[in-house]
Symmetry: C2
Subunit: 222 residues, 2 copies
C-alpha cells in the first residue's frame, strides 16, 4: 500500500513521462518540490516496491504496476474535481487543492459512486481526460493557443495548469472551456496576443497565458 507521499511521486512520474519522454531525477525532484537526494532515496524505495525501473545514472521508467497505480490516483483526482464542481458547488479554481488530498483516500466504492452520480464524465473541470475504471486513459491532441495564427479561430478545450491563480485570472477574463477564440494579432514586441472570443470585447493575453490554453483549430468558415 502506497503512502500519500509515494502516490504523489508516482503521479508526478506519470505526468512527466507524458510531457517529456525521459524521466530524470531532477525533473522529478522539481515536480514534487524536494531536493535531489530526497528524490533519489525515494526512487530507490519505489524500486524496492517494484513501481519503477531504475539503475544508477539511468533514466527512470514506471513499471506496469506503477503506471496502473498512477492512473488510478489520477482517476480519483479528476473524479473528485468533477464531483466538487458539479455536486458541491465549488468553482473550477478551487477543486484542485481539495482533490490533491482526496485522491489519497483508499475506498474504491467512494470514487465509483462519484463516477456513477456524475454520469461517467470523460473530462475533468480543466479539460483533462478522466481514466475509466479499467485504467484506459484517452490521449488528447490539443495544441497550445500559441500555434494559432492571426485570423484563425480555435476552441478552448483544456489547460496545462490548474492553479487557483491561473484559473482566477481566466475567470476575470470570462474565458471558459468551450470559448471560441479568434487571434486578431500577435505583438512582435512581446508575443502577446490580441484576441476576441464568445461575447467579449477585444482582450490581450500574454504568451505565458496562451501557452497554457489548449485548443483545437476551428474551420474558418469565411
Amino acid at each position: 500500500m502506497a503512502s500519500p507521499t509515494e502516490e504523489n511521486y508516482l503521479k508526478a512520474l506519470f505526468n512527466l513521462a507524458n510531457e517529456q519522454g525521459e524521466l530524470s531525477l531532477s525533473d522529478l525532484a522539481n515536480q514534487v518540490q524536494v531536493s535531489l537526494p530526497t528524490a533519489n532515496s525515494m526512487v530507490k524505495s519505489l524500486r524496492r516496491q517494484n513501481w519503477v525501473h531504475y539503475e544508477k545514472y539511468k533514466p527512470l521508467t514506471l513499471t506496469e504496476e506503477g503506471k496502473a497505480m498512477a492512473i488510478s490516483i489520477i482517476r480519483k483526482h479528476r473524479l473528485t474535481e468533477m464531483f466538487l464542481l458539479k455536486m458541491m458547488n465549488f468553482g473550477w479554481e478551487e477543486v484542485h487543492e481539495v482533490a490533491e488530498q482526496v485522491e489519497h483516500i483508499h475506498a474504491p466504492k467512494f470514487f465509483e459512486r462519484m463516477d456513477e452520480i456524475l454520469g461517467y464524465p470523460s473530462v475533468d473541470p480543466h479539460g483533462s481526460p478522466i481514466p475509466d475504471r479499467h485504467g484506459n486513459l484517452e490521449k488528447q491532441s490539443f495544441q497550445p493557443l500559441t500555434v494559432v495564427l492571426p485570423g484563425q479561430r480555435a476552441k478552448l478545450h483544456a489547460l496545462t495548469n490548474s492553479s487557483t491563480a491561473f484559473l482566477a485570472y481566466l475567470n476575470s477574463k470570462a474565458l471558459t472551456l468551450g470559448s471560441s477564440i479568434e487571434i486578431i494579432s500577435i505583438e512582435q514586441f512581446d508575443q502577446s496576443r490580441v484576441v476576441r472570443y464568445t461575447g467579449h470585447p477585444t482582450e490581450t493575453l500574454t504568451e505565458k497565458v496562451c501557452e497554457r490554453l489548449l485548443v483545437q483549430l476551428e474551420e474558418t468558415s469565411s
Copy 2:
C-alpha cells in the same frame, strides 16, 4: 497543523474523556491500538504543541485548543458519514471506515457544503450528535438497553459501536434506529434478552449486543 496520526490521538482522547472522566495513558494506547511507550511519546509531542496538559504519572487532559481540534475532526467524521449515507448510497455499516480517512482532509468548505447539502443534520447514521460549525456538541442522555426491565419498551436512538461487523449484525436482525424494543425476558443463565420490536417476531440478543444499543425508555401506555 496536526498530522492524521495526531488527529486520531486527539479524537481518541476526547472520546475517552466523555466515556470515562479520567484519561489514562493505557486507555489511550488501547484506543489508538499502539504500545504504551508509543502513546507516551506521542503524548509528549502533543504537549509540546499545547494540545494536552500532561505531567509524568498524572492523568491527561485536553487543552481548550486540543478539545476544539478534536470536535472539529469529529464534526468532519460525522458529516462525512451522513453524506455517504444520504447522498452516495452507502449503507450505515460502510460509512465509518471511509469517514475515518476523510475526516483528515483540510478543506473547511468541503465539510460546510456537506452540511448545507444535508440540511444541517443533528445526528450521524449511528445516532451520534454532529457538532455544529461553532463546536457546540449536544450531550445525549441515552442508556444502554441493559438497564431496561422486562415488560418495558424503549426506542433505539444510538449505538456505542459502529463497526461494520456490529452493524451488519443489526442489519441481519432488521434493527434500525427508531425501532421500539420491548424486553420480554432476561435469561438468568447468560443475561441474554428476549425482545420484540417493530414488525418482528421474537428475537434473542446477547448482553454484549444490548450494552451497545443506546435507548430512551418509552412510556408503557398500558
